[in-house]
Amino acid sequence: MSDAALLALAQLTTLQTMLALVAGVVTGLVVGILPGLGGTAGLALLLPLVFGMDPNSALAMMIGLVAVTTTSDTFPSVLMGIPGTSGSQATVLDGFPMTKRGEGTRALSIAFVSSLFGGIFGAFVLSFAVFFAKPIILQIGFGEQFMLVILALSMVGILTGANLWKGLAACSLGLLLGTLGAAPMSGVQRATFGSDYLLDPLPLVVVGLAMFATPEIVNLLRRQSSISETGKLAPTGWLKGFKDWASNWWLSLRCSMIGSIIGALPGLGGSVVDWIAYGHAVQTTKNRESYGTGDPRGVVAPESANNAKEGGALVPTLLLGIPGSGSMAILLGGLVLIGIEPGKDMIDNNMDKVYLMIWSIAAANIVGAGICFFLAPQIARITTIRYTLIAPFMIGIIFFAAFQATRNWGDLIALLLLSVLAIYMKRFGWSRPALLIGFVLSERVESSVYQTVTLYGASFLQRPIVMALLVLTVLSIALAVFFKQKSSEPLTVEGPHSQLQKWPQWIFIAGVIAFALYVLQNGMQFNRLTGLFPTVASISTMVFLAPIIFAMAFKKAPSEFFYDAERQNAPESGRSAEFYIGMLVVMLLFAGLVGFVLGIATFITLFLRRAAQLDWWKAIAGGAGFVLFLGIISHQLTLRYPTGLLQNFVTLPWPLQ
């Protein structure tokens, strides 16, 4: 055992392998920073290179990449409020408010130390797990997976926002969105709105960007001159961030454990790890009012967990040859390409390769966090720049990111529609994290209930792990109920909780009901295998809406049921949210005419000229720069941007296609 470990260390520390590792780390950092691209896209970028490469170098390069995407994805999450990968959605909740206070460097510092700690912890777990984890993983059957999903779903209780019913309705709405497109058990397309795009379910990337990125961009455009409200960066952030982490090391350790366990177990997948860690942090603290307003613990938790999960996800990938996440599936593909086949054979005969991966994870996390620390002071300065200069590029990037989901026009349209939903959810106080958790778990809820009941009936409840998970779930719900968070805002007639002028909220609720009814009538056309879940999800949405509608109709005093952010601190000079929604619609329509690349470039140029009042030549340079960026990416990743009517008539040269 130790022989293999030492041999692997010797293999890693050759110049060639080390260079490959660093190349992988740098690529991983770049794709992590770019929203929408993550480990999956990064590995896809490396695949053409690894075939025929020296196996050790290829291995170090691929692992180096996967290990650090969740380190650098913190930059957009913390500095821009745009989740860099789906693993850092929860980081936005507290990281971004810190940045707005001018504490961007402090938040980044917390995140990088946590990522480093989590990543090394993950490698540490992996080095033991390869010997004993197999029987444990094989114990996690359908019943246990079902309970894991329910436990994860119970985290919604803590993230409902001020009003429980609105939170539950938001979660239900997420479940409903998850039912669109091909049904998991029958493949039948349901509730497709007649679109080919919904042959597959809605992509998580698109929903995540719509929920968090667009509302923030619109909000910032309306209110602020720069992301940092003070227009400055607190100079002492670095040390402070490290101290924040050190005083929360126990939380960081717990969340790293959560991350590596959930990464290793089948049933949940990596994309909820950050939410579970965040929920855990909130549940286990008494004074939880500060969460969501820039609490360092809200950064420590998800960032520790999302790096630790990579080590965890390698456990089933290496032991059983069954990938533990989307990026692990590609990694497995890459391993096969270089002639390494994970599974029993690898553990028996190629232990040095296993150790090479473990060392690589640890080394990559150190190199990755080091590079991030080095770059961060420069990058964090972006938060002091006038926001109108940044916003058009951000809009370009989120549409580019959404397009990575399935590389289809539908991605852009789905992003726009869901963004409108999210903008109004924010305005009317509906919990967007609750919707996201519902959405992520939707398919798993549907299939694991069916599979467990079909296979075991109710007898699955007698299994010991199921019972333990059940207790945890009850505890999690109890914690949510007993320590209910109170709204920080006073209930006044003048404030957002006013009972007056509720018609915008009525329109929103009517929209949700119309959507639920559409899914309901569609679901009832199908057999049980296809139609049961959408039917149940839409009915539950309406059940959760009932108390809200009741309160809306009869309550005559300010209440937590009511919320309209527009009634409070409406910006004096800024434009309305509807103006910016209209702007995005026009931009997409124009892109429909001239194609995505030219459409975005024109938008950026006009925005820089009109809104930011730059000279024409600077505005044009901005648009052209973005075209160049898109061109380089399309060349590197071999992708084609959505075309418009224009492209039916003329063939444009690179990079204008």
């Binding site: 896809a44 695949l47 075939f51 359908f142 058990m185 029958s186 080919d196 042959l199 590609i330 096969v336």
Partner: protein, 363 residues
């Protein structure tokens, strides 16, 4: 293995003979300075993508004019999205090809209304066959492995648990085969092949299907897991032979005949054969767009022969597809015809079967 290699050589020679007449025209076709786009209807890293990338490394040097060859991943709808687009828009000038696979052929075979393409109109270059078998945890079902009749009785009476994605996925081959024999497993849906594989490893499922190559890797040495039958391979004369990697395992028709006393026939067997062609013989297939001229086709057939016999590629191929023979040109086109079309009576049989067994409609 040797057997497979021999067939490969024979197959290649036959196809070479077919291709010869076109050679004269092929001389003046060149792709110099062009970019050849190779469409893959799946995400990076899956089986179809990997095979394409292995072949991609050597394709350029074997094409006239050594064009730049890129792989373009267009995931969506199990490759239906990419296939629709390819059928509609791909230029027939040798600058675009597609790596088709079973999951792109099945919707056509089943007449799904989302598949607006007909692979029969495409021009076949190379087909990659990949063996498949049905295997089970022997003790759990009561399979002895020596007496087919006794095993058959056990299969009919056992509580078989078989995990699969949907009633219309590629496992339909297994459903139909078992239905012909009156074997009725409990099917559990919503499991991708990796989920089904994991559930089988846990013992929650006790029957599974996979390609022969994966089966041998995962369970070749495991005495507890044994194949029930393989789906064999069709040789150049159109006859079904045993899987070269599983020479001791009976093919499905062999098993059928041994336990029922007569050879399989009728619409159910026609369906079984079509599914076998789509799943085994055309596990993956390199195709050019409809209307591609013969000279371009012949250039590609020659190029793919050279690519697949390149030592580096030949060493990687068994990892991806096992050691079954490749098929080229007309032979591939024939398999395609069988794998994508059903006679009306066969279609009627399968519609009734799906309706009765799974409450599922063919659309």
């Amino acid at each position: 293995m040797l057997d497979g290699l021999k067939k490969f050589v024979v197959g290649a020679a036959t196809a070479a003979a077919v291709a010869l007449p076109g050679m004269a025209q092929a001389e003046d076709f060149s792709l110099e300075g062009k970019t050849v786009t190779w469409i893959v209807g799946f995400r990076e890293g899956g089986g179809t993508d990997r095979l394409t990338r292995v072949l991609q490394t050597k394709l350029s040097e074997n094409l006239p004019g050594n064009p730049n060859v890129i792989v373009l991943n267009k995931p969506g709808g199990g490759s239906v999205t990419a296939s629709n687009d390819f059928h509609e828009n791909a230029p027939a000038d040798g600058t675009m090809l597609i790596m088709a696979s079973t999951s792109g052929l099945l919707p056509v075979l089943m007449g799904s209304d989302v598949a607006n393409y007909d692979p029969n109109e495409w021009v076949a270059v190379t087909g990659f066959s990949r063996g498949a078998s049905l295997y089970a945890i022997s003790d759990d079902i009561g399979l002895g492995g020596s007496d087919m009749k006794a095993d058959y009785e056990a299969l009919k009476n056992a509580n078989i648990r078989f995990g699969t994605e949907t009633p219309l996925s590629a496992e339909l081959l297994d459903f139909v085969s078992m239905e012909m024999l009156g074997i009725h497993p409990n099917y559990l849906f919503g499991l991708s092949s990796k989920d089904a594989e994991a559930a089988f490893q846990r013992g929650e499922m006790n029957m599974n299907t996979d390609n022969t190559r994966s089966y041998l890797k995962d369970y070749g040495e495991d005495p507890k897991v044994n194949p029930v039958w393989s789906y064999g391979v069709i040789d150049e004369n159109g006859d079904l032979q045993r899987d070269p990697d599983l020479p001791d395992v009976p093919t499905f028709p062999e098993f059928y005949e041994a336990v029922t006393g007569s050879a399989p026939e009728g619409p159910a067997y026609e369906m079984q054969k079509s599914l076998m062609n789509a799943k085994v013989m055309l596990s993956k297939a390199v195709m050019l767009p409809k209307g591609t001229p013969d000279n371009i086709r012949d250039v590609y057939i020659e190029a793919m022969k050279a690519v697949t016999s390149d030592p580096e590629v030949a060493a990687a191929l068994p990892r991806e597809i096992g050691s079954m023979p490749l098929n080229f040109g007309d032979e591939t086109q024939r398999a395609l015809a069988s794998g994508t079309a059903l006679d009306p009576e066969v279609r009627e049989w399968v519609a009734t079967f799906l309706e009765e067994r799974f409450d599922t409609k063919l659309n």
